[in-house]
């Protein structure tokens, strides 16, 4: 199984979620994060001084999926989260050795 982690622009969440549901992905976990990258941030003004706010609000989406679904999921996220402007974000794929559903104790495939 794979754990797919995507960093996206916040206002893209709903679109991404819908496209994943369409693929049959039944769950995901979202975290508010701050991103630093090529996209440059704002300057905040305070008593005339300007402070560069280099970290921008992003959302991190984590989805655990069967290995065979990984490519489809990556494809879906990429297409939906893309605006074409700097800062669209990244997708990271890491190996997932085991999954357990707490409620039932089911594991791996059944737990997703």
């Amino acid at each position: 199984m794979k754990l797919i982690t995507a960093i996206i622009k916040p206002f893209k969440l709903d679109e991404v979620r819908e496209s994943l549901s369409a693929l049959g992905v039944q769950g995901m976990t979202v975290t508010e994060v701050k991103g630093y990258g090529r996209q440059k941030g704002h300057t905040e003004i305070y008593r005339g001084a300007e402070y560069a706010v280099s970290f921008l609000p992003k959302l991190k989406i984590e989805v655990a999926v069967k290995s065979e679904m990984a490519d489809a999921v990556i494809e879906a996220i990429t297409s939906k989260a893309k605006t074409g402007q700097i800062g669209d974000g990244k997708i990271f794929v890491t190996p997932l050795e085991q999954v357990v559903r707490i409620r039932t104790g089911e594991t791996d495939g059944d737990a997703l």
């Binding site: 905040e44 003004i45 305070y46 008593r47 005339g48 300007e50």
Partner: protein, 444 residues
């Protein structure tokens, strides 16, 4: 009795009793007082409004500007100051500031101790400084001034002072700095006698608190991370609420200083509103031009600058005078808070000196320029009434308050530093005052 106050209460009496078609005589001759219910209603309201300025007004104005880890500690400073000063004022502060010292020479500098625990303030007592209202109301009204003045200083030492040291500072500063100076100008002392015009506290309140703030931030030193870390206000919503309540409450401060509910109170209210709005716009446009964006912090800081600068002038100037004073205050305080502070490099964290000190001094001087005989029969200014001499008196006033306050504040702080220590440890400062000093935090 104070020159400026004399006039004010003089007018007050005229209007107050005038409305009753009575003569002024009985009230001055200390017979059974003629309490005017309208004046009393307005002064009770004014007292509540001025208290509102400190809690929650000032508490929120400052609390929103600090970092989140220090917001409760900042509120605790305004709240704690309110409590300790209330008690000290009742014990002896009012007596020292607003009663006459039997020794008429000493009376130039300090009042009597006869009102210890307000003993002589019986049910029907009336102060000669406010002959149409109960003395209990006048004592309470002046108490609210005595509360906010020291509390203003907290803006300069935000984020780094021990709470115990702060409470000691408030107490000693009230008794050793505010009470005498209030007596000099309003209570019958030498500055009032000299003819200094200070309607509601440009020098007594704002220059005074601002000077103490400057000294305090120099003695305490800069916050850890000052200049490198982003110390932008954590929640300007709180500061906007605070600034708004300061603005609304300030009508008790300025119009209330008429000590009656008459034409003087009305003019003071109008002048206050006009100057405040003008200063807010002036600061906003100055920043819009210089920094390309009009910050909310700038708008509310400008409003406070206008309130400060019009305070000494409010009962002496006409609407156009108020407009000009407001515009000047907005620009000058913007420069002092943004440019001068950077230039000189002190960490006046929330600009208590930059706004209250500078704005108070500016207002005191401009009062000498724009005071108009037609508004207040005893305020003869330079521009309208051709009385340049008033400018000189205003300069004395500013210099005397600045000088005495600076020296006395320095000594008080040094003593407290030796005895209990002024500043929290570096760890506490980095981690935050709320959890370390009060054992509390704001949860989301």
């Amino acid at each position: 009795m104070s020159f400026s106050k004399l006039k004010r209460t003089g007018l007050g009496i005229a209007a107050g009793l005038g409305a009753l078609g009575a003569t002024i005589a009985p009230a001055l001759a200390d017979t059974a007082p003629k309490i005017d219910t309208g004046d009393t209603a307005w002064m009770l309201t004014s007292s509540a409004l001025v208290l509102l300025m400190t809690i929650p007004g000032l508490a929120l104005f400052y609390g929103g500007m600090v970092r989140k880890k220090n917001v409760l500690a900042t509120l605790a400073q305004s709240f704690g100051a309110t409590c300790i000063i209330t008690i000290l004022w009742m014990v002896i502060g009012y007596s020292v500031a607003f009663t006459n010292n039997p020794d008429s020479h000493l009376n130039q500098f300090i009042g009597s101790f006869n009102y210890f625990l307000l003993g002589p303030m019986k049910l029907n007592a009336v102060s000669a400084l406010a002959p149409t209202i109960p003395e209990s109301v006048y004592m309470f009204f002046q108490m609210t001034f005595a509360i906010i003045t020291p509390a203003l200083i907290a803006g300069a030492i935000a984020d780094r002072m021990k709470f115990s040291a702060f409470m000691w500072f408030m107490s000693l500063w009230l008794l050793l700095v505010y009470c005498p100076i209030a007596h000099w100008v309003w209570g019958g002392g030498w500055l009032g006698a000299m003819g200094a015009l200070d309607y509601a506290g440009g020098s007594v309140v704002h220059l005074n608190a601002g000077t103490a703030a400057l000294v305090a931030c120099l003695v305490l030193g800069k916050r850890v991370g000052y200049g490198t870390e982003n110390m932008a206000p954590h929640n300007l919503v709180l500061s906007v609420i605070g600034a708004s309540l300061l603005w609304v409450g300030w009508f008790g401060f300025n119009a209330g200083s008429a000590v009656t509910s008459n034409v003087n109170a009305g003019m003071a209210a109008a002048a206050t509103q006009i100057a405040t709005a003008a200063a807010s716009l002036a600061w906003m446009f100055a920043e819009w031009i210089v920094a390309k964006k009009p910050s909310v912090l700038g708008m509310i800081s400008g409003a406070v600058a206008g309130l400060v600068a019009i305070t000494p002038a409010s009962g002496f100037v006409n609407p156009v005078g108020a407009l000009i004073i407001g515009l000047a205050a907005g620009v000058v305080c913007y420069l002092s808070a943004v440019w001068m502070k950077k230039l000189l490099g002190y960490d006046d964290s929330l600009d208590a000196w930059g706004v209250h000190g500078v704005g108070g001094a500016l207002g005191a001087l401009l009062t000498g320029v724009f005071a108009s005989n037609a508004i207040n029969s005893l305020g003869k200014g330079w521009l309208i009434d051709g009385n340049p001499g008033q400018m000189l008196i205003q300069f004395y006033d500013v210099a005397a308050v600045f000088g005495y306050c600076a020296i006395a504040t320095f000594i008080i702080l040094k003593v407290i530093d030796m005895v209990v220590g002024l500043r929290v440890s570096r760890e506490v400062e980095v981690e935050g005052l709320d959890i370390n000093l009060h054992g509390e935090t704001v949860h989301g």
